[in-house]
Assembly symmetry: C2
Homo-oligomer: 429 residues x 2
């Protein structure tokens, strides 16, 4: 049994508490598997007096998070403070500059500063590991960086936000509307009081940009992720999708082509014969398509103290074993600058839903706009009037470029026939 | 860019050919990701003259597989010869004894000789890696050894044999019977001409014993895996399972408890809300349940040249990066000897199917045997007579110990009412 790996832990919220509990409960097993014990020796958090269900006295306490970078004998710092900048970034920079390993669950920081931190880890010859930053407990960073490393990745996509999947699954199961389910999720602690990072797709976009870097060897490019959320999805859309043999899932999709790198978070229709259609609740799932391996799927709990702690400690075990390397597999300087590709040229079948006034001529107007924009309609259904007198029209298009659909919607903009914004969703192929 | 990793490759069948093609097609990408090129320098196979679609002249050819252990400058040997013993084992032993890394896809050899080979790799300070031995292209060895390393694993189970899953899925989709679908699978090359290793569960048992060792830190114990196959599954069972909201899948299940280690391959009824119910065709999928991470799922192609080559080359990339350690995560001497647990004490809901003579009193006889053995019946259905005049009776039991069901079947043994062997299948919980 070797010397312990000595860890300083910044942040004792849900995940930090989970890490302390996990390292306690599985202490002996981890020492056997890692070849040496993993010990938390110092912690930092906002409030020392808060009851966290475990004894803080065995750890050296630091009010100042940044002090964790200066403790003698610490091998690795675990950053669970959160936030793209501020104390988290100061700690991350300081840790690597001081020649210690860094483990973080901070997707926002990685999406914005991942390249800088990777270069710093490389200079220091230390690990920068972030399994917990994407898909919680699911080892998808490892799956891409190592498991699928022999493949050119054609596309990586998946369900990256548990809150959104929980809401969409609950809408599906109960027939209730978005606002209603969100309110309940908030009341039960499954959604933040300010849920916009989750439900507007920002959190998934952070994660997608991290996955894309590893999959394609490109510099993190969060700024070029198109992020859309699920606020516009109606219970009626979910019912309509079901009638079409599909479920609605918020997917992050990254795809590399000769044109460049496409990255988008958007609700999609997912066919029932695709495994992502069967991912319910707050579960996350990521698909990677490789040129030799075909389609790989990684699935599991996307959040929560236990699963996220599992990923954090897996990183520490890799470090304890000495089985770690460059954060993005290749040197930071070797990551390429990917040209962002917009969605206009992408070809897909799509779902379109309009809320329209219940009167003669509306369908003809929509159909004419589609025809004029060159959008070919595969099916059209019109559902009975809602309480407010509007009718829902759902259209499935044949495969075609997204810009044609955008042009059709542009033609209809401001039409007196439409009540509210139409909703467009691609159908996953 | 570092020195190349120089590889000798034994076996140029489907997988070996895939490895050569993959290392050619993705050559530059792999060098970028591994930090150094990976080069095949020598090969050995049965027949030099066979057309494999690529040029053999760039490799040093050896008729004698064992000669690959003696080539100067070779860093790693890839063993794709197959077979638990014989030339594969000679090569594996010789490679590690000569201080070279070994990568193998040989589940039978690992199931029987994994402990010895791991100890040998440990002594030599070299890698023994075998990602391709379980679930083809799916990085589940890595997922357990590293991704889930922070967890006590409670149970590991999954679809480990693509041929069986292909047959069961095809029976499900077409309503045809086992023998019929098998014959077609053989004609189309999806099943071996001697399919018993696959359809009798031996191949899955090899893989299960490997997963169990890594999950539980136990010595490989292939001898204590209960192996059952899918020959007894009728189209009528699949229809009956569907009516009950389930699909039939051949699962390998390994579970550790205070009593010891339980390992079994058996067809199961899988409920439709479980992801394994949606795994169709030759896809493999493995679930690991950890005490912190909860349920992790790894899924992808379980066989074929591309996926298997992807796993072999992932192992080589780990070696090229220097990111590898002990084969079973802990020293071979530290693996524990697990006490085998038989199935009698296991509690499960179960499906039972009897082919019975179409006459009065048969159901009463079955029901009495159940009652006398203490088996509680949850539902019973009787389907119309088959062409041969037999009727199928399907029973679902309440949860209870398996030994009670075995006792009930024992009571019915030799009954004039039964036509053929009853089929028992546990329902996955």
């Amino acid at each position: 049994m070797g010397e312990p790996l000595r860890v300083a832990l910044a942040g004792l919220g849900t995940v930090g508490g989970g890490v302390v509990r996990l390292l306690g409960t599985n202490r002996e097993l981890i020492a056997r598997r890692a070849g040496r014990p993993i010990e938390v020796v110092a912690v930092s958090a906002r409030d020392r007096t808060k009851d966290r269900g475990f004894d803080l006295d065995r750890f050296a306490w630091h009010d100042d998070t940044a002090a964790l970078t200066r403790i003698d004998g610490v091998d690795a710092v675990v950053e669970l403070v959160g936030g793209a900048d501020g104390p988290a970034l100061t700690l991350a920079r300081g840790t690597l500059a001081a020649g210690r390993h860094l483990v973080t669950a901070n997707k926002a920081m990685l999406a914005h500063h991942g390249l800088e931190l990777a270069a710093s880890a490389e200079r220091a010859g230390r690990a920068l590991k972030f399994e917990a930053a994407v898909a919680g407990g699911v080892p998808v960073i490892k799956g891409l960086r190592e498991g699928a490393a022999a493949n050119a990745i054609l596309r990586v996509y998946g369900i990256l936000n548990g809150t959104c999947n929980f809401i969409l699954s609950a809408m599906e199961a109960t027939g209730r509307d978005f606002a209603d389910v969100l309110a309940e999720a908030q009341a039960r602690g499954f959604a933040e009081s300010d849920p916009s990072f989750d439900i507007d797709g920002i959190d998934a976009a952070h994660k997608l940009s991290i996955l894309a870097s590893i999959a394609f060897g490109t510099r993190p490019a969060f700024g070029s992720v198109e992020a859309h959320g699920i606020r516009q999805v109606l219970a009626a859309d979910i019912a309509e999708a079901a009638a079409l043999g599909h479920r609605i899932r918020l997917l992050g999709v990254a795809e590399e082509s000769a044109q460049g790198l496409f990255q988008r978070v958007h609700p999609h229709l997912v066919p029932l014969d695709h495994p992502l259609a069967h991912v319910a609740g707050s579960t996350n799932a990521v698909v990677a398509e490789g040129n030799f391996v075909g389609r790989l799927l990684f699935q599991g709990a996307g959040a929560g103290d236990g699963p996220t702690a599992s990923a954090v400690v897996a990183d520490l075990i890799d470090i304890a074993r000495g089985e770690w390397g460059l954060p993005y597999a290749m040197p930071a300087a070797a990551l390429t600058e990917a040209r962002p590709v917009d969605s206009g040229a992408r070809r897909a079948r799509a779902y379109l839903r309009f809320a329209v006034a219940d009167r003669v001529g509306v369908l003809a107007e929509i159909a004419a706009a589609m025809r004029d924009a060159g959008v070919s309609i595969a099916s059209l259904t019109q559902r009975e009037a809602a309480a407010d007198g509007t009718v829902l029209v759902a259209i499935v298009t044949h495969e075609g470029p997204e810009r044609s659909v955008a042009a059709a919607l542009e033609r209809l903009r401001g039409s007196q026939s439409l009540a509210g914004q139409p909703l467009w969703m691609p159908i996953l192929a």
